[in-house]
Amino acid sequence: MSRYTKSFDTIGAVLLAIVWIAPLLFAVWAAVHSTSDAVNFRLTSPWTLDNFRTAWDGAPWAKYFLNTFILVTIVLIGQFIVTTLAGYAFAQVQFPGKDFAFLLVLLQLFILPEVLIVENYAMVSRLGLFDSILGIGMPYMASAFGIFLMRQAFKSVPIELDEAARIEGCSRLGILLKVYVPLAKPTYLAYALVSVSTHWNNFLWPLIVTNSPDTRPLTVGLSIFGAPENGVDISIISAATIMSVAPLLVAFLIFQRQFVQAFLRAGIK
C-alpha cells in the first residue's frame, strides 16, 4: 500500500470514528456543564456535577439499577440451565422426534418475542407474573439462539471423553456437568456477554410488563425520566443517560477484546 493511500485511509477512518462517537462525546460535554453553557458551546465554561446530582435525585435510580441487575442475572441463570440441558440433548442424546423438535426450536429464531408482545403479555398476566422481574425475564429464557450455540459447543466435545467418564462410573448428569460444561466455557462466556448486554438494553417488553418503580429496569426508568412531559432539560437528560449506560460502557472498554470475540463467536455459529 502506498504511503499516499495509507494516510488517506487513516484520515477517512479516523473522521468516521469521530463522527461515530460524537453523540456520546456531546452528551458527556452536556452532562458536565450547565444547560446554557452546554447549548452555547462555551468551551471555557466551568465543569459541574450538579446535573448528575439533580438527575440522581429525580428518580429512584438505585432501585432501577438493582432491578436491571437482578433481571440480567435471572435471565442469564435461566438461559444457562435451559440451553445447557436442551443443547446437550440435541448434541449427544439419540431420541425419536429429535430432528422435528430441533426444527421447532429454530422456528423461534424468527418468531421474535418482540413481535408477540400482545399474547405474551396475556400469558405473563395469566401466570400471575405481571409487574414482576421474573415476568420480564421469562420469555427470553428458552432462547433458540442459546440452544443452538450450546448444541454446537457440545458437538465438538470428543466422544471418547464421554465414554471414559462413563466407564469411571460417572452418572449422565455428572458427565454433562463435569465433562461438557467445563469444556464449553468460552461459549458460556460469549453467550453471557451477549445476553447481559441485550437484556441490559432491552426496552419494549419491560415497558409493557412493568407498572411500578419496584420492577422497572433502567431503560424504562430512563425513558420516563426523559419524557418531554417532565420538562427536564438537555444537560440533566444527558447526565441521566451517561449514568445509566456507564456500567456497561466501562465494562465494554475494559473487556473490549472479549466483547468483540463474544459477539463474533455468538454470531458466526
Binding site: 487513516t10 477517512g12 477512518a13 479516523v14 468516521l16 470514528a17 461515530w20 462517537i21 453523540p23 456531546f26 452528551a27 447549548v39 435451559v82 440451553t83 440441558l85 436442551a86 440433548a89 442424546v93 431420541f95 422426534g97 423438535a101 421447532l104 426450536v105 422456528l107 424468527f110 418468531i111 418482540e114 413481535v115 408477540l116 408482545i117 400482545v118 399474547e119 405474551n120 396475556a122 400469558m123 420469555p139 428458552a142 440452544i147 449422565r172 441490559w200 426496552f203 419494549l204 409493557i208 431503560t219 430512563l222 426523559g226 438537555i234 437528560i237 444527558s238 441521566a240 443517560t241 445509566s244 449506560v245 465494554f252 473490549q256 466483547f259 459477539f263 463474533l264 454470531g267 458466526i268
Partner: protein, 297 residues
Amino acid sequence: MSELAKLERRRRATYGWLLLSPAAILLSLFAFYPSIATLWSSLFSRGTRRNPVAFVGGENYADLFNDPTFWIVVKNNLFYAGVTVPLSMFIALSMALWANSKISAKGFVRTAYFTPTVLPMIAAANLWLFFYTPGLGVLDQIGSLFGLPSVNWLGQPETALWAIIIVTVWKESGFFMIFYLAALQTIPEDLREAADIEGTSRWTYTRRIVLPMLMPMTLFIGVNAVINSVKLIDHLFILTKGGPSDASKLILYYIWEQAFAFFDTPHAAALTMMVLLVLGIVAAVQFFYIDRRTHYQ
C-alpha cells in the same frame, strides 16, 4: 437381547425429552402458544359491554387494509428497511475494510465504531435528541454557522423518518462491522500477495476477490438487518412517538399502540400475524436459498 435394546432405547428417549422439557415448556408458553393465540384472536371481534366477542373471520384484516394509517405504516417500514439495510451494510463494510487495513489508530477506530452497539436504544435516542432539538441542537447550531435556518428535524413529516433512520444506522453499523471483520480475517494472505505481484489495483482486488468472498457473510448480515428493521423501534418512543401525523410510525410501534394505547387486541393480533408472515418468508429464504448456496464454501 432385543428386549434389553428396546429398554435401552426407551430409556434414552425418556432422557432426551426430559432434558428438553424446560425448553419445550418455555417455548410453548412464550412462542408457540402465543403464535396460535394471535391467529385465533385475530379472527374475533373486540368485546365490549354491549357486544360480546364474536367470530368475524377476516374482518379485522379487511379493516386494516381499509385503514389508511396501516398503509402509511407499511410504507414507512418498507422505506425504513429499504434505507437502513443497505446503508448500514455499506457503512459496516467500509468500517471493516478500514479497521482491517494497516492504518494507524486502529484500536481507537474499532472501539469508536463498535461503541453504539453496547448502548441501549433508549440512551441512543437521548443522545441524538441533543442533535435534533430545534434551535438548541447541534445540527441547528452547525447550520446557523452557515446561515441556514433552524429546522425541526423531528417535528416535520419530511425529515422525521430520516432522523429515525440515521439513529438506527448509527446503532447497528458497528455491530455488522464485527461480522465483516471476522469474514475478512478468513481471506488468505496469499491472495493479497498474488494480487500485488500481478500489479492488480486495490479497487480491482476488493471488487473481484474480497467482495465475492464476503458474499455469504453479506447474506447473513442482510437477513439480520431485515429482522432489525422490524425490531428496532425503541427510539421512536423518545424521538417522535411515530409522529408527526404518522410520518415516522413503524409496524411494531403501531402494534404496541393498537394493543396498549387503544386496547384494540384483535387488530393488533391481525397486524402481528402479518409481521409473522413476513418473518416466515425471511426464514424460508434463509433456509432454502441462502443456506443451500453458502454451504459448499
